[in-house]
Symmetry: C2
Subunit: 200 residues, 2 copies
């Protein structure tokens, strides 16, 4: 009954190790990018060795893919999902998302997507494609909102909706990077940028 004594069953132990590795990997990927990530350092920062890492993940690529999936889910639950119930006009919703996204970007894990997207831009790599898919979801979502806003009259006409949507997502992302989480200005300026891009 060693499990009861230590309070750690195998499943619990595994899950704990896995999340510790994931968090460490997210920080490392955000800081160093995919290629420059050292799996030994990732494991050591989590309190393990590369052996543990290769036991829980297939390798560097699978680890990165797991991190991307994790960050993507976190974004959707904390940024997008938190605004589902709001039933305002589309323009206000885009502005709300931009502000929530700016707040999300203050956390260190947020940089994972940006770093990986830039690193794999122009290549065709599984990790880069996973990031591109996640980004595309956000842009498509924003595109629909712009189209909706132009129908309900809250957003005036302008460039094609998908172009505007890409501009919004890109501007907010670039802006938050340069501000480096300078609250509360990041949130305010993200909003201002969206106002300008949507000609509100």
């Amino acid at each position: 009954m060693t499990a009861a004594r230590t309070g750690r069953t195998q499943a619990h132990r595994r899950e704990q190790s896995r999340t510790a590795l994931l968090e460490s990997a997210a920080r490392a990927l955000s800081t160093y990018g995919y290629t420059n990530v050292n799996l030994e350092r990732v494991a050591r920062d989590a309190g393990y060795t590369r052996g543990a890492l290769y036991h829980s993940f297939g390798g560097k690529e699978q680890l990165a893919l797991a991190v991307v999936e994790w960050v993507d889910e976190t974004w959707h639950s904390e940024v997008r999902g938190a605004l589902r119930e709001h039933q305002e006009d589309a323009a206000s919703l885009v502005r709300e998302i931009a502000r929530a996204h700016a707040r999300f970007c203050r956390r260190d894990i947020a940089g994972v997507m940006t770093t990986l997207r830039v690193e794999f831009a122009g290549q065709q790599h599984p990790v880069g494609e996973a990031v591109a898919r996640a980004t595309r979801k956000v842009v498509d979502d924003c595109t629909r909102l712009v189209e909706a806003g132009r129908q309900d009259g809250s957003i005036p006409e302008g460039p094609p909706a998908d172009v505007v949507a890409r501009a919004v997502v890109g501007a907010v992302e670039g802006l938050t990077i340069y501000l480096g989480g300078a609250a509360p200005h990041d949130e305010l300026l993200a909003d201002q940028a969206v106002v300008g891009l949507l000609s509100l």
Copy 2:
């Protein structure tokens, strides 16, 4: 008199090789980043081998530094310098710069700075620091313009000038990346974003 026959003096030959290597390196750095750059590929794409590269440049780091310097000079002469004579109000000048920057970003070499900045963000690497210095020059320049605009009344009050300047530079950069040189919308939307950020 072989030089006269081939029309290539040593100095000319060296300069030609150097620029060919620089251009190839700029494309490669923009696409693959610093770590993933393969010097053999860089040299081959320029029509040489690594021997030629190591003859003209001290190594990978020196090559990257030379590329950064070259891109920085190009930016200043084509984006900033081209607007020196215009004596409009500061707000219009910022908007002009944003538009010119968007046009500049359509070219493949523009991505060098973005790629390297993201790759070396959080580290202290000579190349990263060179990029940071170049970026800082742009931001400082923009900061002065915002301050000037608030004095001549063309830009209303708001967050600190340096914060607004960082937001402007970051937003335009992120925006142009996401649009991927989708003329003419990139230029228009960069302008719109600046209008929003400056509350014009």
